[in-house]
Symmetry: C2
Subunit: 107 residues, 2 copies
């Protein structure tokens, strides 16, 4: 995964409210009106948080009557964990740097 895209998904994860929402969704799918009383922020704030998670494909939504239920995309979460433990090999960049004589040698 490219750095820009990985960074975007990490930004979606990098908020305590959104992490707690994801944790809650591990137990079961929830709709916005269930999440609101758990946090002390407004309904639009919760709505924006789940929307951010949806954009990053960390959750999916399903409308059921007047409610919209959100579910966690565990696969996406594992994908990110994997990407972090397997960051790309950039030794080629460092070799180029060396060819330009820009590396620091220091025994």
């Amino acid at each position: 995964m490219e750095f820009e895209k990985l960074a975007d998904i990490l930004k979606a994860l990098a908020d305590p409210t959104r992490l707690k929402i994801l944790s809650l969704l591990r137990t079961r799918d929830c709709c916005v009106c269930e999440l609101v009383p758990i946090f002390n922020i407004s309904q639009p704030a919760i709505s924006k948080h789940v929307s951010r998670l949806k954009t990053a494909e960390l959750v999916r939504e399903t409308r059921k009557g007047q409610w919209v239920f959100y579910s966690i995309n565990e696969k996406r979460l594992d994908e990110i964990g994997y990407a972090l433990s397997n960051l790309p090999d950039l030794s080629e960049e460092l070799r180029k740097l060396e060819q330009q004589g820009l590396t620091v040698t220091c025994e």
Copy 2:
């Protein structure tokens, strides 16, 4: 790991420049003056990025003469991957919600 702390570390990771710096450090330790020509941002910008990574304990620094070499803390990175795949169980919170009659049932 608590949500606040995990979010802080994820914020440190959630930037393409910092992700690339971490990738470079996988190959070998680097000092700031080696990183600067790889990116087209200023030396102080790079300095602030590595400082952010250091605060999150994602890198460690070692002074060698006039240079400061940064090394990756792979353990920390794996820790985060693990935390993401094992978010806490908040079923208790949802049980409380149910007792308050705030859950939505919808067959």
